[in-house]
Symmetry: none
Subunit: 433 residues, 2 copies
């Protein structure tokens, strides 16, 4: 076959067109395709309609060289994949008695008699190759239509898994596409920058590497830059290294990691562990979210001592030593209170870093002077009286304000840990190290 192979995925089942279920099988298939360097150009979900599935099969066979179908191979009336595929390509459908025997024995091995409806599962499309299913009764089938190969797989995830291993992987290995030209993806994660601002920074990389190779995925306070390379393993590595470096330099110090498994709390955890520094938190509007994020990380007890959620003014005074005068003069949502919270939690509970957060998460509680989304954040650093402060008015509803707040304070801690790390490394008194 010439050129690179394009693939499409069809998930069959009316339940996948309802409000409760999504087609998750396609993720598993996509991972296999990626590894073999095959481009997935589209995926679709079709209900239990023979006519609709036949039309979809014809369309996909005309635009891709590999069509992967999951579901609709069961024994019931609404399992239409076999007849639809036969109809789509004008093939006959006949029961294979050896398959019936095999199924009957399978049922007997579980002490049950095979229901008559299951005979349907032994229907084979003319010219198709039967694909044994070691985890269920429904065998799969592979048929060739012109230059296109079509795989019919069961939709039960653990059966599909076995089919991928037993049939798809070996077939892909036997049909190498542009040998060794797999696709690999790298990532850079960015904290606390607007998507459009990031876009402007990295614009030149689109021209240099091709815009289809870079994609930007934004969620509140967090952006992922995915970049991909195609080629042999060595080529991919060289390409990805270059893209990572160029994109990283363009984006700047907002990049907090290039590892997919990382998030801001794991990065802060790693830096804090390396520096031997501990953290405590004093939260109001985030209600425990910063502490909760820090403690999601296994082993966080090495650097996280604990925290306080001081939702009321009384608890801000009692637990953190915030002055009643500051509360009265400036209000709970203010710079002096955020600073006092950060310093209070740090000194009272004996940590290196203290985080203080106070704001109006909404939807209630806003005023003209302090509208919903206004948040004061403070980070008290180790060993000195310097306290960093930020005030931001975050857009969005309660969840987003809280999420973005937690992101920004964790990023402040990350930056301070990094800065100290650099100072330490560059410091003249460290020459002996």
């Amino acid at each position: 076959m010439m050129g690179s192979m394009r693939a499409t995925i069809i998930a069959v089942g009316s339940e996948l067109l309802g409000v409760q279920r999504l087609d998750t099988n396609s993720l598993r298939l996509t991972a296999v395709l990626d590894r073999h360097g095959i481009e997935l150009i589209g995926k679709s979900v079709v209900g239990d309609s023979e006519a609709a599935l036949a039309a979809e099969l014809r369309r996909r066979a005309s635009e891709s060289e590999l069509v992967l179908v999951t579901g609709g191979l069961g024994p019931t009336a609404d399992d239409v994949t076999r007849p639809a595929a036969a109809a789509a390509f004008d093939r006959s459908l006949q029961i294979d008695e050896r398959l019936v025997d095999h199924m009957r024995r399978l049922f007997e091995s579980f002490g049950r008699e095979m229901p008559e409806v299951n005979r349907k599962q032994a229907e084979v499309i003319d010219g198709a190759t039967i694909l044994k299913n070691r985890r269920g009764t429904a065998p799969g089938q592979r048929l060739e239509v012109g230059a296109t190969s079509i795989f019919l797989f069961p939709g039960v995830p653990r059966e599909l898994e076995a089919m991928i291993e037993d049939h798809l992987e070996p077939w892909l290995t036997d049909h190498p596409q542009a040998v060794g030209h797999g696709l690999e993806t790298g990532v850079l994660k960015v904290a606390c920058l607007a998507e459009s601002a990031l876009e402007e920074r990295i614009m030149s990389a689109y021209d240099r590497f091709g815009r289809e190779r870079i994609s930007v995925l934004a969620s509140p306070g967090d952006i992922k830059i995915y970049f991909s390379a195609r080629g042999t393993e060595a080529e991919r590595r060289t390409e990805l290294d270059e893209m990572r470096q160029v994109l990283g330099e363009l984006a700047g110090d907002v990049v907090y990691t290039d590892r997919d498994e990382d998030n801001l709390e794991t990065v802060v955890g790693r830096l804090a562990t390396a520096a031997g520094k501990t953290i405590t938190t004093a939260e109001s509007c985030t209600g425990g979210l910063v502490a909760e994020r820090l403690t999601r990380v296994p082993g966080s007890s090495a650097y996280f001592l604990g925290g306080v959620v001081s939702y009321t003014n009384e608890l801000k005074v009692q637990l953190l030593g915030v002055s009643e005068a500051d509360l009265a003069t400036h209000g709970a949502v203010s710079e002096p209170v955020a600073r006092a919270m950060a310093q209070g939690v740090r000194s009272r509970y004996g940590s290196d870093y203290g985080i203080g957060v106070t704001g109006v998460a909404g939807p209630g509680g806003g005023s003209e002077a302090k509208p919903v989304g206004t948040v004061h954040m403070a980070v008290a650093g180790p060993g000195d009286d310097y306290v960093e402060h930020r005030v931001v008015r975050f857009p969005g509803g309660r969840d987003r304000v809280r999420q973005q707040t937690s992101q920004l304070v964790l990023d402040l801690v990350r930056r301070d840990l990094l800065r100290r790390d650099l100072l330490r490394r560059d410091g003249p008194d460290q020459d002996g190290e």
Copy 2:
């Protein structure tokens, strides 16, 4: 228009063809279609390719009367929905300067300058209706192609949500299909019961109402029972009421709500508000998750005073008055410590309820006597010295253990609030009410 309306959904974005993300927006759209009695006949995912999306739009427009598109309306180079839709139906695309002005003001209201790339979002397809987006910069568009209406919506879930409310719902109401024969779904939510145990309880409802009308969706510590009815609005209401009652009685008091928008923290919040009771939390292994969940609810400051995350033994003593003797004798993960935490946080911080949680979330920290997943939970109730205690060994990894723990303690508070509410209502001294 004759007959009933058929709908299709297209999700746009190369990231949705990768191994990381699924199109979840379609579930939300499907719920709206179901309610309006419109049949969804297929959905598909297309990458950031203008040509592929244009082809998909043409095909879907030819086979359905309503096409809902999500995503690809952002300001970046890989946002192709506007040009693809224009190309698909031979329409021109022009920048609407009023939209540009509107966006510029939006940016200014957050103290930022509009990046030039955002101008793209003001491109309008010839003949299309602009759909205002009150939660983001990307407006949507609706265009009519023959007998088909095509909606272009942003892919950001919270923006889409607003667009559905502001534009899709009103439009569907103005275009009634097969009047009144919609499909409607009800829900019951269940806390802290195994899926198989719930299945056994509600088994008889499958026979009574039909297996296909009831589906059970489980996540750690939380199960949703969905049930559906078809017919006129009156028929649906009667059917759903009956199913809700029968399923609710079969499932029992594990059901905490029949409202889709509820979760355990909103239910606890409502009960606490009604009872005029306040809550504080003392958490170890959940690291703030219980407080964070309670404060997700708007207005939670009415009943949540604050909490303590006492990750170290020192903070358990200092902040909660847990006795060093108990810590030494029984260890931090023990019944006496959980009880002391709940009572300590309640009495020290002056709330009606105190929640105490201590456990081994894993992956490290387990022992033979206290394996990973072992959690002691205590709830100190109002007005007496009674403290409820549970110890559970939860299955699953760190996240699941923490999630299930938060679910169980919130459910303990819910049950106590309910019990007191019933006592109050049934009490002989309340006859006068």
